[in-house]
């Protein structure tokens, strides 16, 4: 007898099919049942690929033209660092006669982020098409999609979509009769946040423990199996078909200068309707919050972590004045990161919130660098004793000092990711930490 747990599973209604997106490109027209290839084609899917391969009349596009279009779009990496995608693609030594690889980073594990899961589960072909186009632009014949181990059902769905694309002639040798060949496979992780870091991901893909490599060399010159490799996030690839169909300029204009297109924000925490919302870059935070139904229970907004757990927290009055794009959030002293917006209402204790994040980073440190391995544990233990009324007078200075000494002194950015939330909390909510230390109690004791 098979075990049927479907009644406990999400249908995506709340997170994706709520019709509250603004000008969606990746989530447009989805309903949870139309993920298959025929429905994707009916939505205009694989037309961008046909266009570059000159399948429907037309002149086709050269690899350089594809890259130029992506550059013109202003698309920036949706995995968190916001690196310009067209520029990254142009680093690929296309003519070098060695095997080159294309990798999709679907290891989404940044606390708060759940957008790639919905892209892959409800619209897998948009990522496949984006990857085929990217492979064409960079002269790559083999690719992998590395999928977060915890979303195993998504991995299985993606494999099914790959089968469909192969059967339709979109994947494999001589795609649609052209000279372009591309093999694509799915690979799953098995529970390690660090494998989202691109070089750790490559190590993992090679069948090793996922410990990051020094950069440089960047994957563009030394990547999978030591070969030139381009890695992009799921959402980045998902944006490509729209750009090729409608033009880079149209994509750019959909957002704001230097911040093209739409972005999917995962609205989580204390909002009325948690879920993913795809909106143009530059949408005011207040409008995004309204889409998610506002703060839960009509409570007052206290703070927001705007770009996944590693981005510094912003107090309500600061975030309410921001628009949601790389530049505005950076100017406010945080980062857009992966687009996970963690909303916290007036009843939340910042010490307790930081404690959970600090535990996470110390647990997930891969242990290679001393400042990260020792520093993350040290930060966690200090926040823990402050939370439990055992903080010492000089702990805040020590927290500052340890965080500062991690920053920039490690192989990968996980060290920074552990230090930045600490610094953000101390910058904006220092008084709560002081209160905990001086009074051994919490300012908002109701937080469960």
């Amino acid at each position: 007898m098979t075990l049927d747990l479907s009644k406990f599973q999400t249908t995506g209604q709340e997170t994706c099919f709520h019709d509250r997106h603004i000008n969606p490109q990746i989530y447009a027209g989805l309903n949870g049942r139309n993920w298959g290839i025929a429905d994707y084609e009916a939505r205009g899917g694989y037309q961008a690929l046909r266009k570059i391969l000159a399948q429907d009349g037309g002149e086709g596009m050269t690899a350089d033209q594809v890259i130029a279009e992506v550059k013109a779009s202003g698309l920036r990496g949706r995995g968190g660092a916001g690196f310009p995608t067209g520029l990254k693609w142009s680093f690929m030594p296309r003519a070098l006669p060695v095997q080159k690889y294309l990798v999709c980073n679907s290891d989404e594990g940044e606390p708060g982020t759940c957008k790639d899961r919905d892209i892959l589960f409800y619209n897998p072909h948009i990522v496949i098409e984006g990857m085929i186009i990217a492979a064409y632009a960079m002269g790559i014949s083999v690719g992998y999609n590395y999928i977060h181990g915890e979303i195993f059902e998504v991995y299985e769905r993606f494999e099914a979509a790959l089968e469909e694309a192969r059967a339709a002639g979109y994947l494999g040798a001589n795609i649609l009769g052209s000279k372009h060949s591309f093999q694509l496979h799915a690979h799953h992780g098995f529970g390690a946040y660090i494998c989202g870091e691109e070089t750790a991901l490559l190590e993992s893909l090679e069948g090793k423990k996922g410990q990051p490599r020094f950069k440089p060399p960047f994957p563009a010159s030394f990547g999978l199996y030591g070969r030139p490799t381009t890695i992009n996030n799921t959402e980045t690839f998902g944006a490509v078909p729209w750009i090729i169909r409608n033009g880079g300029q149209a994509y750019l204009e959909c957002g704001k200068p230097n911040n093209g297109g739409t972005k999917i924000f995962s609205m989580v925490g204390d909002v009325e309707r948690p879920g993913n919302y795809e909106v143009p870059m530059g949408t005011p935070f207040s409008a995004l919050l309204a889409l998610a139904g506002g703060v839960k229970g009509g409570k007052k907004l206290k703070a927001v972590i705007p770009g996944g757990s590693s981005s510094p927290v912003l107090p309500a009055e600061v975030i309410m004045a921001c628009t949601m794009d790389y530049d505005s959030i950076a100017k406010a002293g945080s980062m857009l990161g992966s687009g996970a917006v963690i909303v916290m209402d007036e009843t939340r204790c910042m010490v307790k919130s930081l404690l959970r994040l600090s535990y996470f980073y110390s647990h997930e440190s891969c242990g290679q660098c001393t400042p990260c391995r020792e520093g993350t544990g040290w930060l966690w233990r200090m926040v823990q004793r402050i939370e439990h009324g055992e903080g010492r007078a000089d702990d805040l200075a020590l927290l500052d000092n340890v965080a500062e000494n991690i920053m920039g002194r490690t192989i990968c950015a996980l060290g920074d990711a552990a230090a930045m939330p600490v610094r953000g909390m101390l910058k904006h909510f220092r008084h709560e930490f002081v209160h905990h230390i001086e009074h051994k109690t919490c300012t908002v004791p109701a937080y469960i």
Binding site: F190, G191, V268
Partner: protein, 164 residues
């Protein structure tokens, strides 16, 4: 060590990688072994090392690095509840505590009848569905209020009884 059917599943994974890079399939093979046997035994590690032509210690390094490999036997149903901050803001911690007290185990513990293991875990990448949990590494369950948790435990227990 492995049945023909299992070896065929391994082969399907190995085929994804260049012939000289069979090691790339190690994570998939370990998860298949775990799915079929409930955990990754030293024998399974040795068997996979042989299939992939890599040292057993290199397989062990992988097993111990990733959170989801069971290095010892668990209950029939391994239940992982996410308690990271975004989930904690929507009662993820409460869900873990409810499950533990209902089943009479501590975090990480297994019930005396060997049916359930409960473990907290880190972000599952499904934060908007909180409280969220994972059953036996493969099935994700969403919006797990206390009522739904109770119903789940009953469903699983009934299933185990029927299977027995």
């Amino acid at each position: 060590m492995f049945s023909e059917a299992t070896l065929a599943r391994f082969a399907r994974e190995v085929a994804k990688y260049p012939p000289e890079q069979k090691q790339s399939a190690v994570m998939a093979c370990l998860s298949i072994a775990q799915q079929e046997q409930g955990w990754v035994s030293p024998e399974a590690e040795a068997g996979i090392a042989e299939v992939l032509g890599m040292p057993a210690i290199a397989v062990r390094e992988v097993t111990t690095f990733y959170n989801m490999y069971n290095q010892r036997q668990t209950g029939k149903f391994k239940l992982n509840v996410c308690t990271n901050l975004p989930c904690q803001l929507r009662n993820g911690q409460g869900a873990l505590e409810h499950l533990c007290s209902k089943l009479g185990v501590q975090d990480g513990g297994t019930t005396a009848d060997g049916l359930f293991t409960v473990q907290q875990c880190e972000c599952l990448g499904a934060c908007a569905d909180a409280p969220v949990m994972l059953v036996n590494d493969r099935q994700m369950l969403s919006y797990m209020s206390n009522d739904r948790l109770d119903e789940l435990v009953d469903t699983l227990a009934a299933h185990a009884k029927q299977g027995a």
